[in-house]
């Protein structure tokens, strides 16, 4: 395992991390080798970005701060892709 990369993001859309964006994150994560997860800061357990259920159960509403972690071959690219999706507010207003 390579070193762990991580970045902080904020849930920017009004509806929070709901089913459609969660599914989109699973879809993005599927394009990379790296293992990707998201945790609430301070929380012991992290949600695997390949599980839509785990992502939903973060119960991350609008304005929630989250930490995205990536490790493995293409960790940088994978992390950037997910962060970019958060930055776009999941393509919602």
């Amino acid at each position: 395992m390579g070193s762990m990369l991580s970045e902080k993001v904020t849930v920017g859309n009004a509806m929070g991390l709901h089913a459609r964006p969660a599914a989109q994150i699973v879809h993005i994560a599927g394009k990379f080798q790296a293992s990707l997860s998201i945790r609430k800061p301070g929380s012991a357990s992290a949600a695997d970005c390949r599980s839509v259920l785990a992502l939903l159960m973060l119960a991350a509403g609008s304005g929630t701060e989250l930490e995205i972690e990536a490790s493995g071959a293409d960790a940088r690219e994978a992390l950037d892709a997910v962060v970019a999706y958060f930055d776009k507010k999941f393509d919602e207003q």
Binding site: A14, M15, H18, A19, R20, A22, L53, A59, G61, S62
Partner: protein
């Protein structure tokens, strides 16, 4: 057990009478599975049952998603795609498997307990949006449970045509409905502009909204209902006498509509020979045949927002060209008015809107958005329209115009595109018929100045009323102020028509005012040339026009313009309709 007979007053939103048994869709109050513990050797068959239910559910969800994608409702389809991922989620599967293998629960209870466990996470949350996420989980769970119980939901529901009851109808709930098995609708929430109402009217089925939740929750599939979409009455388990009376009324209605359809070939002309053109409003997912069947005068409003719904894939010029061309070819010589992208206000579109606004109805919407933030998208649409225009009688109309510069700027873009296309040797319309929507008070007031710049006006009454009366049309608390018959609205329409007359422009009206026959005497008297409405309303509107005399309508308008309030005007109209078309009252 039948629910005791009762009779309540709801709000009518789509005319007609439906009599039949109930089918509930959407969130179903279902019985909670018992925590059944089975013999250990039953674990294997239970697992097999669970997996076959999973597979069945997956196929159903994929089918629903495809169906929506075909209708270009990709946003809605995205929800089903997310549900498929939940269904396939290892977290869910292994939790259910654990319940079956270790605790020896029945598959039903294991699924139920798993969904409850996962959705409990959302119970403590304060965020209303997030609480709703539990619904996604329950929705998937319920689908699995339905498949486990071996009942084919569709079959039970559809062994006879039924009246659909629901708390509220969303597009994703109605997508699976088969038209021939639906008699009508009764829902708890909604208004005349809600999805329920629009759907019901487009299917030509009666609907009422505002049914108390306590009543809806009590109803079962054995209960019989009468939905009176004229008066708003909802009758539960009627006695024989009442049912017979309604059956009679229903037959008369059918006769009435049948007789209307017989008149499809008659011109929509007043008794003194004025022809009021009746055109159709059409959405991208509707077929032009609907327009042909009602002998409408082409399409008065083709909304293009639908084409731009998929946030992942905005349509390119070629795809748009093909959509517009197909419509124009189908219409033949009949005019087709296509409205450029109208996003903003209540028409949210995540693919096109870049920011959230405090007050979207007064924000960057319609033509404003196109010119300020989406010029490229706008230019692509105009290019596709210019190219498609050679295939028929195309008119292009701009939404939400509030300044003459918006028209001039658009014309500059069009001129530039025409030059480009000519250079490229691509065939396109040389003289594009361009019009503006009059849907803001400012546009109605400066109609005189706008007129020389354009070829036609189309009055969008829904927004014009909302902006003039300063009433949010989705806010029930101020709904009493939303009055199409208000003299202020009539003055604005008159100003628009007078400006148009001076420059020899064609004036159409779209919006709900053009749809309801009770406003026809006013619009006719004000001197508009065309009403554009959903195809379902055209036959009854044709009868209305044929019952009226234009001169009398003009006199009516003269009186109405002197009135001080909407009620006085409404009474004047009512008196006239009572005299010349009594069968039209309440329609």
């Amino acid at each position: 057990m039948l629910t005791p007979s009762c009779n309540i007053q709801a709000i009518p939103v789509a005319p007609g009478i439906a009599i039949g048994r109930v089918m509930r869709i959407g969130e179903t109050p279902r019985e909670q599975p018992e925590p059944v513990v089975l013999a250990p050797e039953m674990a294997e068959p239970e697992l097999a049952r669970f997996h076959s239910a999973l597979e069945k559910t997956g196929t159903q969800l994929a089918g629903l998603s495809d169906k929506l994608k075909q209708k270009l409702q990709d946003d809605e389809a995205g929800i089903f795609d997310a549900h498929i991922l939940i269904l396939e989620d290892q977290l869910l599967i292994s939790e259910v498997e654990k319940g079956i293998k270790q605790d020896h629960f029945s598959a039903e209870y294991a699924v139920f307990a798993t969904i409850e466990k996962f959705s409990a996470v959302f119970n403590g949350v304060n965020d209303e949006y997030l609480k709703e996420r539990a619904l996604d989980l329950r929705d998937v769970g319920n689908r699995i449970l339905d498949n486990l119980s071996g009942v084919d939901v569709a079959k039970i529901a559809y062994n006879e045509p039924r009246i659909i009851i629901a708390s509220n109808l969303t597009p994703s709930e109605t997508v699976g409905l088969e038209r021939e098995f639906v008699l009508g609708f009764a829902t708890e929430t909604g208004s005349a502009t809600s999805h329920t109402a629009i759907l019901a009217r487009s299917l030509k089925l009666p609907a009422v909204v505002g049914v108390p939740k306590e009543l809806l929750d009590k109803l079962t599939i054995a209960d019989k209902l009468i939905v009176d979409g004229f008066s708003g009455k909802l009758i539960v388990n009627p006695d024989r006498h009442t049912e017979e009376a309604y059956l009679l009324k229903q037959r008369e209605e059918q006769k009435f509509y049948f007789s209307l359809n017989e008149e499809n070939n008659l011109p929509p002309e007043t008794s003194d020979g004025f022809r009021l053109q009746l055109a159709a409003n059409l959405d991208a997912d509707q077929d032009y045949n609907e327009v042909k069947q009602t002998a409408a005068y082409g399409v008065g409003l083709f909304r293009t927002e639908f084409i731009f719904m998929d946030p992942n894939q905005l349509p390119d010029e070629e795809r748009q060209y093909n959509i517009y061309k197909k419509l124009l070819v189908a219409a033949g010589n009949a005019p087709v008015t296509i409205r450029t992208i109208d996003v903003g206000g209540d028409k949210l579109n995540t693919a096109i809107l870049r920011s959230t606004e405090q007050n979207p109805f007064l924000g960057l919407r319609g033509i404003r958005l196109c010119l300020r933030e989406q010029r490229e998208l706008f230019a692509t649409q105009l290019r596709a329209l210019l190219r498609a225009g050679v295939h028929g009688d195309l008119r292009v109309m701009l939404p939400m115009v509030s300044s003459i510069f918006e028209v001039k700027e658009t014309k500059e873009i069009i001129a530039k595109l025409q030059q480009d296309l000519a250079k490229e040797g691509v065939p396109c319309v040389e003289k594009l018929k361009l019009g503006v929507m009059i849907e803001t008070p400012v546009a109605a007031i400066i109609a005189q100045q706008l007129a020389p710049e354009v070829d036609f006006f189309s009055i969008g009454t829904n927004d014009l009323i909302q902006y003039t009366m300063a009433v949010d049309r989705s806010n029930e608390r101020v709904a009493y102020l939303y009055r199409p018959t208000h003299p202020a609205i009539l003055h604005l329409i008159r100003n628009t028509v007078e400006a148009a007359r001076e420059y020899n422009l064609y004036v159409s009206v779209c919006g709900q005012m053009a749809e309801s026959v009770m406003y026809t005497p006013l619009l006719l008297g004000l001197g508009v040339h065309e009403l554009s409405m959903p195809t379902a309303s055209i036959p009854v509107q044709r009868r209305m026009v044929r019952s009226l005399e234009r001169l009398a309508c003009e006199e009516l308008v003269q009186k109405a313009l002197q009135c001080s309030n909407a009620t006085e005007v409404q009474e004047l109209v009512r008196a006239m309709v009572e005299k010349c078309a009594p069968e039209m009252l309440e329609r």
